[in-house]
Symmetry: D2
Subunit: 205 residues, 4 copies
Amino acid sequence: MAAQTKVAVIYYSSTGITYQLAQAVCEAAGDTGAEVRLRKVRELAPDEAIRSNSAWQAHRRQTQDVPEAEPDDLTWADVVIFGSPTRYGLVAAQLKQFIDTTGPLWTRGALADKVYSAFTSTATLHGGQETTLTSLFSVFYHWGGIVVTPGYTDPSQFVAGNPYGASHTSNNAEVAPDSTALGAAALTARRAVRIGAALKQGLAG
Amino acid sequence: MAAQTKVAVIYYSSTGITYQLAQAVCEAAGDTGAEVRLRKVRELAPDEAIRSNSAWQAHRRQTQDVPEAEPDDLTWADVVIFGSPTRYGLVAAQLKQFIDTTGPLWTRGALADKVYSAFTSTATLHGGQETTLTSLFSVFYHWGGIVVTPGYTDPSQFVAGNPYGASHTSNNAEVAPDSTALGAAALTARRAVRIGAALKQGLAG
Amino acid sequence: MAAQTKVAVIYYSSTGITYQLAQAVCEAAGDTGAEVRLRKVRELAPDEAIRSNSAWQAHRRQTQDVPEAEPDDLTWADVVIFGSPTRYGLVAAQLKQFIDTTGPLWTRGALADKVYSAFTSTATLHGGQETTLTSLFSVFYHWGGIVVTPGYTDPSQFVAGNPYGASHTSNNAEVAPDSTALGAAALTARRAVRIGAALKQGLAG
Amino acid sequence: MAAQTKVAVIYYSSTGITYQLAQAVCEAAGDTGAEVRLRKVRELAPDEAIRSNSAWQAHRRQTQDVPEAEPDDLTWADVVIFGSPTRYGLVAAQLKQFIDTTGPLWTRGALADKVYSAFTSTATLHGGQETTLTSLFSVFYHWGGIVVTPGYTDPSQFVAGNPYGASHTSNNAEVAPDSTALGAAALTARRAVRIGAALKQGLAG
């Protein structure tokens, strides 16, 4: 019997939009029978910045029990799915800081041959929905990762419309992810798990 | 008195969506007092492919009198604005073929120090709205171009939402550019002309 | 027993540099036991342009018997490896034109779940070695492809130094690919075949 | 008489390679008569990480008197030049964290219409020399910036070979920037200042 696929969902979220996408990713991955770890990355913003934004403060409290991501979560996983709001077309510094701590793993090849995928949220319609994801993929290539995106492999993608990964336009956190965005998040997860499981089995076989 | 700014709008369009954006670009550029050239690039598709698609055939007939772009249109211009539908996140081969004929101009530096900008249309919501433009910008960097995009320099951009250039989602040519897309096209043009005119004056000064 | 892995190597080359990389890719893929198709894309340049460049003319004659790529080569393959010289940070129009003819295959999902990889050559050291490859990957994402690059999965990659795929700096076709570049081409091929074979087996399993 | 052009050079460097490029940028900018601010971004790594690397620790001490970048340095400048080592094809988290603090400036349009340029260093030959710069440019587009790169506007660029900006391959900090890399840094600066000064004059005119 095939071993259970291990999925790490590692995200940053300030006011909770990206977190909702992360939850949809986790739920869909779990529904496939995979073992799932949900991990937030460490906050870099000073407390005063967070306190000045009630939504940010509320979300921080809401997720205080979500464990912080450790490099070992990457080593453990067969499939890694990153999530971040855009910050000017790139992932948030908080997620980048986590990524930048992986040097020792990268040096010994511990990040290679895994499946990687990603999701994002932006304030405006085309303000980083694509660039945030495609620029993040450079990281995966440096790691020797296998990049799996939803493409148009499901009819729902002609509605969600982002072949690079699940995404949502929040209008500055005023609009929560709708069923289309959550569905794209679930598809991104199911597809990454399916390819990751097949690859694991094939490489072991 | 400042010399008139010269603007070349060079585009590819199969069924006319990108052409409508190109017209909005030209009109807005002309309204600034600039001298404007609208140029289509040469078609590469075989006649039978075009005849099999009535919208494509109709658009070809409609624009038969639009002059074809020549490398000299680039030499002439102070500001060059390219338009293309996406083809899988990159510009259409037709536009790329035109770009690839500029070697002699590039070698003698004739493409440098001009202002470049771009617009696009896609079938799905995030299927190349950003990647088509940002990957095209690499061409401009190779040419020594000055890249000017709308950013969020006008309140309308928080609605149109594409800081990289004007764009439209056509749902496979079923939806014509609306006032938001046409407005973004006009803004892209006005901004490129404004910066191009200032730069020309400053460099001459 | 696992079915033989099918590899399509589809390239454009004007003076032969990229062709030499393509041959190294084919040889390495063949050495793994895979079935390999080498295919050139159709030339778009006019005869007079080719005749004005003796190296281009000679290479065209040298490869006159290499079959031209057909969309069906993509359908057939488990692993597709594209090669192109850069043209200003993007693939050559000739390769793009081939890519743009795949609409019917894309529409029916026939390009998804395959492994894709790529290689390139440029005139100058950093004039498209990375951007040509990463922008081409957008095509693969639209297709629902699985993108596999060499990363730093082999010590030779710390010398060749391009995690996005094999590449070579030709100084305008004056320098043929050396053992480092040919080695990177071979690694790119072996890695794509290894992942492609495992994935095929796992998905069938 | 034209007002003096103000140039902010904002960088991150761990072991000093990128700092040497930053110094060359400052010197060349200063030689044009511009007013120059050199600013490092705040370190995010824990003290123990820095202490474990003698080159990192030495560089930190060496630059302890370089002022830390503040958002106001962006407001002040006509020309902003960012420098960062690559971290997997993207800028270092330290620089990204600084960038991510500019929300208030961005919201009120204070970052638009300035000239932006960049430089980078990488451990391996094609491990981010291009992607680090082109992905950073997305930030500038979101800001409404004018992106100016060296292109091939000087014969030296056919040797340095990076049209996207100055860059250096350090082989993990073992190789200091040579005259080619330092020359490209100087060219990047001179070109950004030239365009920035002309634009400032033209817009004021």
